[in-house]
Amino acid sequence: MTNSSWREARVVAVADLTPDTRSLEIVSDRGFVAPASGAHLKVAVTIGGRPDTRCYSVYEATDNGGYRIAVKRLALSRGGSAYMASLQPGARLVVAGPENAFPLTLARSDYLLVAGGIGVTPIFAHAKTLARQGAPFRLLYAARRREELALGSELAALLGPKLQTYVSNEDRRVDFTEAFAALAPEGEAYICGPLAMLQAAQRAWAQAGRPRENLRFETFGASGAWQNETFRVDIPRLNKSFEVPADKTLLQALQDEGVATISDCRRGECGLCALPILGVEGVVDHRDVFFSDEEKRSNAKLCACVSRIHGARVILDTADR
C-alpha cells in the first residue's frame, strides 16, 4: 500500500478541545487515504535534534480530505507532544499512513467502548462507525477532571444515553466488573486509555471468564504507575553506567550509549527489546502489555521501549557475549 510511504502535509486548522488538548487538522499534499476507524497517522518529529516518529489516532476525517488528530500536552513530554501542540495553521509536517493497529470488527452482537483521557481519539472513531451501523454499544469515558473530557460534548450529542462519563475527581470511576456483566457473552470490548485502566480491565475480563481475544486494546506510551523520573542504569557486562533522563526512553538511552539493541513495535507489545533485570533500587514501572502480571511481578525482565524505574537505579544485562 502506498499509504505507508512518507509524504509532505500541512496543518490547516487547530482548535483547543480542552485546556491541554489540541486538535490539529492535517491535509496531505499527495492524495487522501480514508482512515478506517481506529487508524493512526504517523508524524515525523524531531526530538532533541534527532528524528523520531509519533503515532496519533485519527479521530475523524473531514470532507475535504483532512485528518483530525488530538494532541495532549504532557507535563513531562519526551518532546513530541510539546512540538505538536506548538504547531499553527500553515505548519509543514511529514506524515505516513493512516495505518490501523486497532481495527473494529463489524457485526458483533454487542460492544463496549472504553476511553480514558486522550485515549478517546480512536474510541471516538469507533463510536461514530458503530452509531452509523446501528450496532448495539455503550461508551464509557473516563477522565480525571470534567474539563478534560475532550470531544465529550460531540459524543454526548452523537450517543445520548449510550455515553456514560466518569470523572475521578467527582469520585466516579469505571467499574469494569459491572460493565462487563452488562455486555452480551459474545460481545467485544475496545479500550484505549492509560495502562492502569487497561490492566484493571484485563483482570476483570479474565475474572469474567471471557475469551481474551475479545478484549481489544491500544496502548499509548508514557502511562505508567509513576511519573517519568531520571534513573541510573548499570550494565556490568559492558562496564557501562549512565542516566536515563525523564524525557528519554530507556531504549533510546541504551542506543545513545552505543548498546546494541533490537526492537520493533516500541509500544510495549512485541517483547523484542526486553532485557534481563539483575537488580533494582526502587520499583520497576512495567508499562508494557507483553509480559503477564505474573511475569511483571517476578521482575526478571523489562521492555526497554516503554518501561521505567521509579527509584534510583537498575542493573541490566544485555545479549552481548
Binding site: 502506498t2 487515504v33 486497532f102 463489524l106 451501523q133 481475544e213 503477564s292
Partner: protein
C-alpha cells in the same frame, strides 16, 4: 499505479458451496489471497491467507475446531481473524490479527467482499437465483485462473454475435447478425435483447425443441455490475406466441456467469447452463455440461481459447486501443457500469493515492 479494472466494494464468487468444507481452501480474489473454511456450526469463515507473523499462507496450516493454526510457528487465529495463541509467551500482542472478509453463501455459491467491510450489505448480492437448483436445473463448473481480464468475459457474453463465428456448428447462426437488438440499462444492470423471428433453428436448439419447422429464438442477456451475467435464451415454434410472452410451446434455458477477478489479467469464471425443460433428465444435464466444457471441445472451451488469446494480444499491444462497433453497445454499457462502481469504490480510491 495501473488503473483499477474492478471495484473492491462488491460481492465476488469465491467457490461453489460444496467446495468449502472442514478443510482450508485457498483462492485469490481481486489480488487478495483468501483462505476459507466451514466452521463447526456450518457458517463459512474467510480470512487473509497470510499469517500475521511471517506471512506464510495460513492455508498451509491446519483447521482445528473453528481456528486456523499456522503451519510455521503455530500461531492460532479464530474465525474473526483474531490471534488467540502466540508461541512461547503468556500474552497476546494486541495487533496480532489477520483480515476477515465478509462472506455470504447464496445461490449455491460462496460470495466474498474484498472491499470495505462496513459496506458489505447482503442486499447488494446479485440476483443469481437461476443457480439455486430449484426451478432451473443444470450442473455447471468453474474455470479457475482463466487467463483474461474478467471484463473480456463480460464483453463476450454481452455480445452474442460472436456465436456465429466461434460456435458456428452448435448455436451460431447468421440470423443473429441479421436480427436487430436492443440494449437498455437501469441502475447497475444492462440488458441486451435480441429476437430472431421465423428462422431455421440452429442445430442445438433444433435438438432441444424436438419439433420441426421454423422457430422464434430469443437471447435476453442481463449484466449485473460488476460481475454477473444471466442470459435468458430459448426457441419456440414460430407463431406460437413466444415474442408476446407465451413460451409454453418452446424450450427455455439460461446461461449463468459469476465472475471474480483473480488479478487484473486473470479471473475465475463460475458458469452454469440451466433449463426449465426436461428437468429430471440427468443424462441431458450431463450432456449439456459436456457441450459447454469438454476437454477443449465444448462451447465455453471455444470461448476461452479466444479470450486467453485476446488477453495475450492486449498484453503485447499495450498502445493499441480497442475499436468499437455497433454490436459492442452491450459491452460498452456494461463497462460503463463497472467504471461507475470503480469510481465509487472506497478501497481503490486509497490504492490510487
Amino acid at each position: 499505479m495501473a488503473e483499477a479494472t474492478f471495484p473492491l466494494d462488491a460481492w465476488y464468487p469465491l467457490a461453489w458451496s460444496g467446495e468449502i468444507g472442514r478443510s482450508l481452501f485457498a483462492r485469490k480474489i481481486c489480488g487478495r489471497d483468501i483462505v476459507a473454511y466451514r466452521r463447526i456450526d456450518g457458517e463459512i469463515a474467510a480470512l487473509e491467507d497470510a499469517c500475521w507473523h511471517r506471512l506464510l499462507p495460513l492455508s498451509l496450516g491446519k483447521l482445528v475446531g473453528d481456528d486456523v493454526v499456522c503451519g510455521y510457528h503455530g500461531l492460532v487465529f479464530n474465525a474473526a481473524g483474531r490471534c488467540t495463541h502466540l508461541p512461547a509467551q503468556k500474552t497476546i500482542n494486541p495487533s496480532a490479527c489477520v483480515r476477515a472478509y465478509p462472506v455470504v453463501e447464496r445461490h449455491r455459491l460462496v460470495w466474498v467482499w474484498p472491499g470495505e467491510p462496513a459496506l458489505a450489505d447482503p442486499a447488494r448480492l446479485p440476483d443469481f437465483h437461476w443457480n439455486d437448483g430449484a426451478d432451473w436445473k443444470g450442473e455447471g463448473g468453474t474455470f479457475v485462473s482463466l487467463g483474461c481480464d474478467y471484463r473480456l468475459v463480460v464483453d463476450n457474453l454481452m455480445d452474442l454475435s460472436h456465436e456465429t463465428y466461434v460456435h458456428s456448428e452448435s448455436i451460431g447462426h447468421d440470423a443473429i447478425l441479421d436480427s436487430p437488438f436492443e440494449v437498455t440499462h437501469r441502475g447497475g444492470t444492462v440488458t441486451l435483447a435480441r429476437w430472431m423471428i421465423d428462422i431455421e433453428a440452429p442445430p442445438f436448439w433444433e435438438k432441444m425443441l424436438g419439433k420441426p419447422g421454423s422457430v422464434d429464438r430469443w437471447q435476453i442477456v442481463t449484466f449485473q455490475a460488476p460481475n454477473v451475467v444471466v442470459g435468458d435464451v430459448g426457441a419456440a415454434p414460430t407463431a406460437s406466441g413466444a415474442p408476446q410472452g407465451d413460451r409454453s410451446q418452446g424450450v427455455n434455458g439460461a446461461f449463468l456467469a459469476a465472475l471474480a477477478p483473480e488479478t487484473a489479467t486473470t479471473c475465475h469464471y463460475f458458469w452454469n447452463f440451466v433449463r426449465t425443460f426436461a428437468r429430471d433428465d440427468h443424462e441431458l444435464t450431463r450432456r449439456l455440461t459436456l457441450a459447454h466444457v469438454n476437454d477443449g471441445k465444448g462451447v465455453y472451451d471455444q470461448d476461452h481459447r479466444v479470450l486467453e488469446a485476446q488477453q495475450k494480444a492486449i498484453d503485447s499491444n499495450p498502445r493499441q486501443p480497442f475499436f468499437n462497433l455497433n454490436i459492442d453497445a452491450g459491452a460498452l454499457w456494461s463497462r460503463r457500469k463497472i467504471d461507475e462502481l470503480i469510481a465509487a469504490d472506497t478501497v481503490n480510491a486509497q490504492a490510487a493515492e
